[in-house]
Subunit: 338 residues, 2 copies
DNA sequence: TTGTATGCGTTATCAT
DNA sequence: ATGATAACGCATACAA
């Protein structure tokens, strides 16, 4: 002790104005040379917060989710918050128990990364409503209308519709839509594709909307799946995929079938990930503004925690980044993957 | 309160044996219907732990590091620990301050993911020694000999040497070694390549060891870099890369130059990542056993925290997974990327 | 088997 | 401007 009471030390730590400059200096000096550090647990107990946010995601090794987690963590830390990560997998029970685990740990908020947390059957979303009763619940790229639930997302429907319209208007009417997720976002993308078809009067496209059930890591399996579709008589001159990896597989399919890209087969992916650049030719892909929606999410969160009223939902437009797998007129300027 | 003292409640929570079954039942019942939850902060203060591990990594959106973080988090949670993630970037100052941040948060241990935390100048590693004075420090795929520092890693040197030897013994002596990291692991891989060259009497290969300084996300830039090397007169019939993305760029270079793979150019990557499967043809790549070393790391950590003596270092062998970019004799069985 | 009482290291309220 | 002291909610040593 530097001849001063515990209360004054606390005031120095928290930068209270009502402490004489030389007293502050003396205390800081002792703290320095004694290597003193405030006990975070005691602090947490007193303040009822340890400035920690729970990040839930189904699989942080997924290309897209990993980037999202990265951006979120960066922004949170810049805002003075710690990030506790929890990968839940895709089973509802695990999502629930993981969320509970975080709430018991008394995080200040939970961020649900990716739209896999919004179930199609609304009764299954009760766990989200419950959580919102305790802390602000943040949704990245998903939408859920409920008090204390905040969303930051890309207009996947609009972006996918625009991508499809671009292809259709360039003269291709037999487009295979390939998807592998029925999450909130997955449903929106599909709806966007359908919307484009309707707008252009392409009504009989059901057979051209194909759901791939296997692992998305099995690129060759996806390629074979596309090959089978063709062999079974499906005719298509373009593939729009809900994810770059599906699109990559489509490019491999074309190569192994001797189809020229984009002359005989156009391909559009989604996410504008590193995979788009690894492809040959490089993939045209929809950029869904992951960095922006992540930043906005954290901004909304911190505002909410500070008691500021924040918009319950922020939507960003997508952007089609054209590269070598399409030959669209009036191409958007190509940019590096984010 | 269910007619019982606070001490008994605590005993019930912690599963003490000395509490009558019907008392326990009564307490649990009240806890259930009142929605009681133990306060994690108070618990942390009393026990001096919140069962939390700090995970440090330079960039959790990196393909390799993201997978590592994923495996580690899975194993930690299975062991009853929470994971607090902190992405530091590549600057030493930020690594130090991030580590301090975690220690002040009173994590039970820190895990340094990837070998970017071991500096070439040993004086710069003092921050690791300091940390080891407070908590066990775990290193994933790096080596550092110091009390209370534990390592779990792949024998990158041996794996890379074996990969190079395989190529050389198949008759290719002009191999371009392409790398983009001088981390501990990066240095070991380079040493492995050099060792193979020495073993086979290929002494004049300095010009064939090329360091790429640009962003690893710039696939086309890497491809162009390789093209320049060729244009400047460098002759090579194989490329061994320290990372799958560099290898992917080499494959693109070959395609755009009209070189047949593997007849005119063989390519070997490293990490056996999803990129290896996205390539056409698929990449031969070194599997560095990320899942195993991650599991071992957490096993060692939990043992240490439980007071069990654990080996300071565990090394796993690498494994060459042969695919379409090489035509090696006696091929190892091809498997899916992990 | 159960209850009482103390300590954990802060923050915050109230005096001084 | 500073000190004394009461929470904060649990675990635990000790008493019963």
């Amino acid at each position: 002790m530097a001849g001063v009471s515990i209360a004054t030390v606390s005031r120095v730590i928290n930068g209270s104005a009502s402490v004489r400059p030389d007293t502050r200096r003396r205390v800081l000096e002792v703290m320095e040379q004694s290597g003193y550090t405030p006990n975070a647990f005691a602090r947490g107990l007193g303040l009822n917060t340890m400035q920690t946010i729970g990040i839930l995601c189904t699989d942080s090794s997924d290309l897209y989710l990993a980037k999202a987690v990265y951006y979120i963590e960066q922004n949170l830390r810049a805002g003075g918050y710690h990030s506790i990560l929890c990968c839940t997998g895709y089973r509802l029970e695990n999502k629930k128990s993981s969320l509970d685990l975080l709430l018991r740990q008394k995080v200040d908020s939970v961020i649900l990364v990716g739209s896999n947390f919004i179930e199609a059957d609304d009764a299954d979303n009760q766990y989200i409503r419950d959580a919102a009763g305790q802390v602000p619940v943040m949704l990245l790229n998903a939408y859920f209308d409920h008090p204390n639930v905040f969303c930051s997302l890309c207009d996947d429907l609009g972006a996918m519709r625009q991508a499809a319209l671009s292809l259709i208007d360039s003269g291709i009417s037999d487009i295979l839509y390939l998807y592998n997720s029925r999450s909130y976002s997955g449903r929106k993308k599909l709806a966007g594709f359908r919307s484009a078809c309707e707008l252009r009067g392409l009504s009989e496209t059901d057979g051209l909307q194909q759901y791939y059930t296997g692992s998305s890591a099995d690129v060759d399996g996806i390629r074979a799946f596309i090959g089978r579709l063709h062999d079974e008589g499906l005719s298509f001159h373009a593939v729009i995929a809900s994810d770059d990896i599906l699109a990559t597989a489509a490019v491999k399919y074309a190569r192994l079938s001797g189809l020229k890209i984009p002359e005989e087969l156009s391909v559009i992916g989604y996410n504008n990930s590193i995979l788009a650049l690894c492809c040959e030719p490089e993939l045209t892909s929809v950029d869904n503004r992951l960095e922006e929606i992540s930043r906005q999410l954290v901004k909304t969160l911190i505002g909410t925690l500070n008691g500021t009223a924040m918009p319950p939902s922020t939507v960003f437009p997508g952007r089609l980044v054209q590269r070598g797998t399409t030959a669209l007129p009036d191409p958007v300027q190509s940019t590096a993957a984010s």
